[in-house]
Amino acid sequence: MRKILSSPSGVVGVMLLTVVMSAAAFGPWLAPYDPQLFHAQNRLEGPSIAHWLGTDHYGRDMLSRILNGARSTVLFGLGATALGVCAGSIIGVVAGVEGGRTDSVIMRLLDGMLAMPELLFTLLIVTLLGGGTLQALLAVGVAFTPGMARIARSAVLSVRTREYVLAARARGESRAWIVLREVMPNAIGPIIVEATIRVSFAIMIGATLGFLGLGAQPPSTEWGLMVSEARQFMFRNPWGVIVPGIAIAMTAMGFNLFGDALRDAFDPKRSH
């Protein structure tokens, strides 16, 4: 942790994440109004003393909506990434440990999936599964799987031929022991780092899906959906687009910078 805080990008990342995480944890209690309450008199207003971040087209308080939406947005990012990382790591570790034909077949299939842009791939899955938060989460998770599998496999490959793994094999250790105790602890670093960076992508894809109406459905306070709804009134009240946009950018940047700093901290060349 000290190493992460020693780089400027790490400090900014940690600060942004602290803000976003506290909003996700305590948002509903911090919010000054009910996020779904209409203030019909004050529709489409800019920031004021009563509504710090303005109001949307129904006169709902933007600050309250942002604070309420933080949890679902962050959870979406974390959930989708966790799904992709778990599935990808299992596939990648199996491919890396087995090697040979199994490895070739798995990796060629994944290469085929990787050839499709992530967002397009997600859209395809969402079209198949139908709209909704859960479906979108599943889609992002599946779209992340091939990339994560590649990273897990390369991490495993670099560890697999180390002499302590050979020593374990020569000792007659079971395959499960070798994978779980000798290989995984030494290959997990790059996987964690990549996962952290990917949380930001997941949040952005989630917001995009929300914006396209394929993710969360109204009256959800999901940030992407908020941008989408405010778009119609963009010229009457730009704040409706700017505020959730900045919130999304802050979260994505927080995870991204934190992930970068984490990677540097894990890099043995920088730690000595």
């Binding site: 302590y164 000792r171 030494n186």
Partner: protein
């Protein structure tokens, strides 16, 4: 040598100190180093890894990284100080007046340029030659290095030449502009013994022809005694002893030099335990082969010419209980391949008989076989899992094979640590907190923890410093005496193996050349290849040492 008068030293380092800025603060890498090299003289710098040898070479070339700082002193080349010289002046000087030959010939040549172009580049840059002239001069320069067909070599790219040829090309480049000083940084470490020997001979020949002054950096004292006139012994950035090679190596004064010289392996100082009388073999290899690449059916149909690639083929030898068998060969001779086959890390063909049971493939090795045949690897840094404590690493074989009841594991781990002369407290440490030698002791303890009947040591001393090597060899013999285990000791160091082994197997290109009892290693009926290997490594005479040092070593 136009710029240096004959009686004046070519290079003079006066009271030079430098330091690196690191995260842990300023670390002084060189402390008040002084040395001088006269025309035609070869000055050797010896020391163990981390002693500052290479840093000194970089300092003379003025190739220091940004975090390095000159503290005091001067580096005079032909009388003018290199410290504070402008980049332009230095660039002009490098390659023309001072040149350098590096350790690894495969990484010091540009892979996308032909060898001829790399030599002529220097000639065109520093001697202002036209391309045609440079080509002729390059051919002549390469011819002087003993390359048989220089014109053909000039058209090749580095990957098309052997290690020895590449090092010859680099030496030709270094000599191309008739420099005043050449710095050799371990020029033969990456090469095989026989090739290294040819390179040394080439260096001696060119030095006599050109009268160049040279700095020769090496950790190999035997080699230094052959090439150098004077020597500086570097220890933790300080010159602890300096002078004539014969004087320093014959009667060292500083305790560090004494220890360094005493720890050199000499075949006359036998370390081995008494040879076993038993004639029955513990392990027998019969026509064992390891195939690295077998063409698939499709490949064979499409290209009938492709053949299988073998790491080793038709290997047969045996080890007796309690015996130490040395396996010697150059890199690529298949010695490690055999070690991996015998421990089930590579599938193999042929038969391995151990303790009365015959195994015909790697899958047949059961847990009992794996317990009784242990392997120790070359790199101490790689053979311990960095995420486990030393205690857990040593406890693993005990638990896996159920050798001691669970409650006694901690005691046994402490015992094992003491057995390899490490303090008990090391059980709670992680591998990165230990030095290379200490890590290798842990790896040895782990192998002996399984109470094996045979321990295979795969180059276990190759990546350690000379003084640590000697301690490790003694430790191994001591453990062998205590446990009665047999040992296959794989190495390229003939002097060391002749100290340790009862019998020696010589391997080359994946096949056994011959095997013989150690005491017969110098008999005239040895295979020519074995004789070449033995003659290639000089044995330094034992220096006269004060009594207390002699006692300490016993």
């Amino acid at each position: 040598m136009p710029e240096t008068a004959p009686d004046q030293p070519v290079l003079e380092v006066q009271n030079y100190s430098m330091a690196y800025d690191t995260e842990a603060g300023r670390v002084e890498a060189l402390k008040n180093v002084s040395l001088s090299v006269r025309p035609g003289e070869t000055h050797a710098i010896v020391g163990e890894s981390g002693s500052g040898k290479t840093t000194l070479a970089w300092a003379i070339m003025r190739y220091l990284p940004d975090n390095a700082h000159d503290l005091n002193g001067a580096i005079l080349l032909g009388g003018s100080d290199l410290i504070g010289m402008s980049q332009v002046a230095l660039t002009d000087l490098r390659g023309r007046r001072v040149s350098m030959v590096y350790q690894d010939p495969s990484s010091s040549l540009n892979p996308s340029m032909t060898l001829g172009d790399q030599v002529s580049e220097v000639l065109r840059r520093h001697r202002g030659m036209l391309p045609a002239e440079a080509r002729i001069e390059t051919e002549a320069a390469l011819k002087r290095t003993g390359i048989r067909d220089p014109a053909a070599i000039m058209k090749r790219y580095p990957h098309e030449a052997s290690g020895g040829e590449k090092q010859r090309v680099i030496i030709a480049t270094a000599f191309a502009c008739n420099p005043e000083l050449i710095i050799f940084d371990e020029p033969t470490t990456a090469l095989d013994i026989l090739t290294a020997n040819q390179i040394i001979e080439l260096f001696l020949k060119l030095r006599d022809e050109t009268g160049v002054a040279a700095i020769y950096i090496s950790h190999d004292l035997g080699l230094v005694s052959r090439v150098a006139d004077t020597v500086s012994v570097l220890y933790q950035g300080e010159v602890v002893e300096q002078g004539d090679v014969a004087t320093v190596f014959g009667a060292p004064v500083h305790p560090y030099t004494q220890r360094l010289l005493a720890s050199l392996p000499r075949p006359a100082d036998r370390l081995a335990i008494d040879a076993p009388n038993d004639d029955a073999a513990l392990m027998t290899l019969e026509n064992v082969g390891v195939c690295y690449y077998a063409p698939s059916l499709l490949t064979r149909l499409l290209e009938p010419k492709t053949t299988a690639v073998y790491g080793a083929r038709n290997i047969s030898f045996s080890v007796k209980p309690g015996e130490l068998l040395g396996v010697v060969g150059e890199s690529g001779s298949g010695k490690s391949t055999i070690a991996k086959a015998a421990t089930g890390l590579h599938p193999f063909e042929g038969k391995i008989t151990f303790d009365g049971k015959t195994y015909e493939n790697a899958k047949a090795f059961n847990r009992e076989y794996r317990r009784q045949v242990q392997i120790i690897f070359q790199h101490p840094d790689g053979s311990l899992n960095p995420r486990e404590t030393i205690g857990r690493i040593l406890a693993r074989p005990l638990l896996l094979y159920g050798l001691v009841p669970r409650v006694q594991v901690a005691d046994r781990v402490a015992e094992l640590l003491e057995m390899v002369l490490l303090p008990r407290e090391f059980a709670s440490r992680f591998p990165h907190q230990l030095s290379g030698g200490q890590k290798q002791r842990v790896a040895i303890a782990r192998a002996f923890a399984a109470e094996p009947k045979l321990v295979i040591c795969d180059e276990i001393t190759a990546s350690l410093d000379v003084s640590v090597q000697a301690v490790m060899a003694r430790l191994l013999v001591d453990l062998q005496t205590r446990s009665g285990a047999a040992c296959i000791f794989i190495t390229h160091d003939l002097n060391l193996v002749r100290q340790l082994a009862h019998r020696i197997v010589v391997m080359r290109d994946g096949a056994v050349v011959e095997s013989f009892a150690t005491e017969n290693s110098e008999q005239p009926d040895r295979a020519p290849y074995t004789q070449d290997l033995i003659n290639a490594v000089p044995v330094l005479a034992r220096p006269t040492l004060p009594k207390e040092i002699e006692e300490l070593l016993q």
